[in-house]
Amino acid sequence: MDEAWGEILSRHLDGDLDSDEELKLAARLKAEPSLAAELESMRRIRRSVASLAESERVPPELDSLVDPLFRGKPDPVVLRPWTRWLATAAAVILGAAVIIEVNHSSSGPNLESMAKLRRQSLPAKPTEPFTLAPLPTSSLPPGEQSLGVSDRLPANPAPEVELDGPTPLEVLGPLEEGKVQTFGGEDASGVRRDRALAKSAIVAEEKDASKGEDVRPAGAAAAGEAVPGPRREDTRDPQDTGGGAVLQSWEAAPQTGWAQLFVFIDGESAWREFTPSAMCKAGRYSVRIVVTGGAVREARPVGGAASASPSQRLCAAGLIIGLEIEKVEDGEYPAEVVVEPRGSGISPDR
């Protein structure tokens, strides 16, 4: 078949021909039955492709990975005032117990000491070497090793008491394009952008990095060493966050979340903290990460029912894509993301 007529037949199937072209085609089809047969054949195949698509159903595994929050979620239980008070008190007590437990751990980052360091107005220091410290459980076989300091905590994140309804994810507001992280020439959405935009994003990231995001050896803070704590000096104008990026305020004041990434490498652990561009619910999330060229290129949430809900894990995994962890060799590693709640008193933005 002539290629030009092939395109006309194809466009005819899609209703893309104008009236003149339709008339020409009709005349040609009358004169050439073989062309009409080809058109009919293409039409049947087209319907078959549509039937194949219609017959497919999303496997349940996908939903269990991504969206259980949105499917069949029961209405939140509205508690009576005294029940609310009781639930809140229980949550506070449990939260305090968790913090005390963390602070008594002998290895890994110590939240209290980190907070103390941040309160000290030490000048920001260049990123320190990313060193590894043995995991307390490294003598166990790899399959049985726990996730370092976090395994002293309950597998669930901080207790969630649902009161009047689901709390919306707190966000910083829409980010300008310059703030969108880039991945090998593609932005966070995987869409290739103009080089100038990509460059401005990189500049913005570098600017952010130099302002205080750090990489520290595990255990240093826990051992009480006076590690000069990286401190994000929040002297920036909220409208000037670098690289043309504008962080719109959320409820008037710009707020940021705070998070940590722990990487477990051959029985050792390393960690860094970072400021995510949007917040997930506070908690600890197990992930598997793929590191290439000193940055996290892929992150896949893992964990069973004992862990946070899959949607929350997905959120946490999304936070670390593109995060720089220079001293980690290329490869795939188990890791953990710790998201601290806003207003916890330990955010670096103090």
Binding site: R11, M42, A53, A188
Partner: protein, 174 residues
């Protein structure tokens, strides 16, 4: 509610989980790969959502992310994207569920055979043809939406789709 910008993530996921998974299934080799890539695509959708300004159609934007990710996945795997086809039971289940289940056994058998051939032929199409046929005939995207999603001019979509349909017809009838 996952509110990250103009659009809420749960709504995007609800609307596009099936189309994205179907595309991933068409362009990867195994069910597991399709699930993994679909999940990864939605991680990227989630991350990109705060920057989504509504300048493009949401469907175009999501398919753009999906296509870019699936292409990157192929490069990483170091091979051409392939339709799932090695697991014959899965392919047969797909075809069985898609055929006309009317009372006429002859008609039903013919429909089954055609779907079988189409399914197989789709897997043999070059990737650039397969994706354009699938987005148009499987997902019912317009020429413009396909052009935006694949990052090619609309004229390229027209000509590529015509060649893809012709190639598919030849494969089915061979």
């Amino acid at each position: 509610m996952w509110q990250t910008g103009l659009v809420e993530f749960d709504q995007v996921y609800e609307r596009f989980r099936l189309p994205v998974w179907r595309l991933a299934r068409r362009l990867t080799k195994t069910e597991e790969e399709a699930l993994d890539t679909t999940q990864e695509i939605f991680v990227r959708v989630w991350r990109g959502l705060p920057g989504f300004r509504g300048e493009a159609k949401l469907s175009t934007w999501v398919f753009q992310i999906a296509w870019n990710h699936l292409r990157a996945h192929r490069r990483k795997m170091g091979r051409k994207l392939q339709i799932i086809g090695e697991d014959m039971s899965t392919a047969q289940e797909l075809i069985d569920s898609a055929v006309d289940t009317g009372p006429d056994p002859e008609r039903r058998a013919a429909a089954t055979e055609l779907l079988d051939r189409v399914h197989e032929a789709l897997g043999k199409l070059p990737e650039r043809y397969r994706v354009v046929v699938w987005l148009r005939d499987g997902e019912d995207l317009s020429y413009q939406e396909i052009a935006d999603a694949l990052g090619v001019p609309i004229g390229t979509v027209r000509s590529r789709l015509a060649r893809a349909r012709e190639a598919l017809r030849e494969l089915v009838e061979s």
